[in-house]
Symmetry: C2
Subunit: 248 residues, 2 copies
DNA sequence: CGATTTCCTTGATCAGGATCAAACGAAAGG
DNA sequence: CCTTTCGTTTGATCCTGATCAAGGAAATCG
């Protein structure tokens, strides 16, 4: 009901949790007012599709809260996740109305949407939106390329450790950033979604999760709830840093 | 010697082969003049490194001719290519001077370079460069995500066929676009570079190339010279289109 | 010229992860 | 309540691609 309320009465941009991170970050005063004019909120339930690949998208928008995933599917059903969208991440491409990927909410999701035409007009007229979007797109490109390294060269264990590490860093960055203490968080993905992200099968994901638990790298309570007793220990399993887990 | 000449006497932008494709595509008149002012050409021999990961980059620029690759390397030496740069493609990121990847010329290469500081100033001052760069970055992001699907889900044979198909489409698009006739081109990559791009070993690349030759999908003359007698036949091996190679 | 190096091919064997299969726990539904 | 469904775990076996190893062809160099 509160979500429904959101739909009907969008919050003031000034109070928006992603105000300084999203595509609107650089806008102010009249620009922000213009964005506010063409925006509306939409809510999605966990599991619901935001867009289907090949469909027309009449809006572009930002994730306000929740997690969404981008997936590509081959003709024979093989799937690959190509993006994990967190609050402030942008969905859609100016100038191209046909969606190239499926976008799916994996948790309850709230999006701040802009009608396509006025948003595109604004991009052409004022530079701040385009500049911020460029910055965000360059970041996404870096992330995609880091993921290419993971998909092409990492072992199953390293893939799992990398994913947990990324989610932990972001999700728990708030609670105990530099603290050496245990970090805990909820996985926003099913085993199958993890497999689709990592280029594995769900069985391999499950086995490697069990292996990490057996080795004491993580603790599982309730399948989705992860506890990382020592973050450096987890990080040492990702293959990213030189030491194979023996230093630090 | 002609390359050296290029370095000293940059061509006029009006005569540039990538004029309407590169980051300068939208610029004209005074903007183009300004770019011309801060640009210079650099040549690299095949095999030479343009930048090393972690090094400072004092310029940004466009590939004018030749092919360059972006690679990431893990601490233990595993490598993954994360980009194939063709004429008009852009190198470097405004606002970040430290290169995150190795950039290597795989053929003789000419680049049109802009000094970082004035280029960044220009990005802030005039929208046309930033707008075009956004467009190009979005295209690269799409390409990176397509590659994620390849790395995560395609078989070795599909990977090779996809790579050949991409190079063929681009490289031979000029010679015989819609013609049903054979297409031929030179691979700009060694077997090892192909392996690094595709997330395979060079032995597997070699074996799959032999298999495609044995099956009549391609003909090899001189190891690097590829002839594709029937492009649709090659395309049917990439896994991209529904039909497993039995239609068409 | 022969020697070295670079790039590529091919063979034999191994192993990591896929596939096939069964079963479990929790939640949802009749 | 029992049944179904969904997400997950675990086991057995298979297979694709990696690894280890040897040798060939062409270019480069002394």
């Amino acid at each position: 009901m509160s979500l429904h309320a959101l739909k009907l009465a969008p919050q003031d941009c000034g109070a928006c949790p992603i105000r300084h991170l999203a595509v609107c970050a650089r806008c102010d005063g009249p620009e922000l007012a213009k964005l506010e004019e063409i925006k509306y909120y939409r809510s999605f339930q966990a599991g619901q599709n935001v867009v289907w690949s090949g469909d027309r998208m009449d809006f572009l928008g930002s994730v306000v809260s929740g997690i969404a995933i981008l997936t590509q599917t081959m003709a024979d059903g093989r799937r690959q996740m190509v993006g994990l969208l967190q609050p402030s991440d942008f969905v859609g491409r100016p100038g191209r109305a046909i969606a190239p990927y499926d976008v799916t909410a994996t948790t309850d999701l709230v999006m701040c949407c802009f009608r396509r035409k006025p948003f595109e007009d604004m991009m052409a007229a004022t530079p701040h939106v385009a500049q911020r979007l460029l910055e965000m797109t360059l970041d996404e490109l870096d992330a995609a390329r880091e993921w290419m390294l993971l998909l092409g060269r990492k072992t199953a264990r390293e893939k799992i450790a990398s994913l947990l590490s990324i989610i932990a860093r972001r999700d728990a960055g708030l609670q105990a950033k530099a603290a050496k203490g245990p970090i805990s968080f909820d996985l926003p993905l099913t085993r199958e979604e993890m497999a689709d992200y990592l280029g594995l099968t769900l069985e391999t994901v499950s086995r490697q999760m069990s292996a990490l638990k057996r080795d004491g790298v993580v603790t599982l309570e309730e399948k989705r709830r992860i506890v990382v007793p020592n973050f450096d220990r987890l990080a040492s399993q990702t293959g990213d840093d030189s030491d194979g887990g023996f230093r630090s």
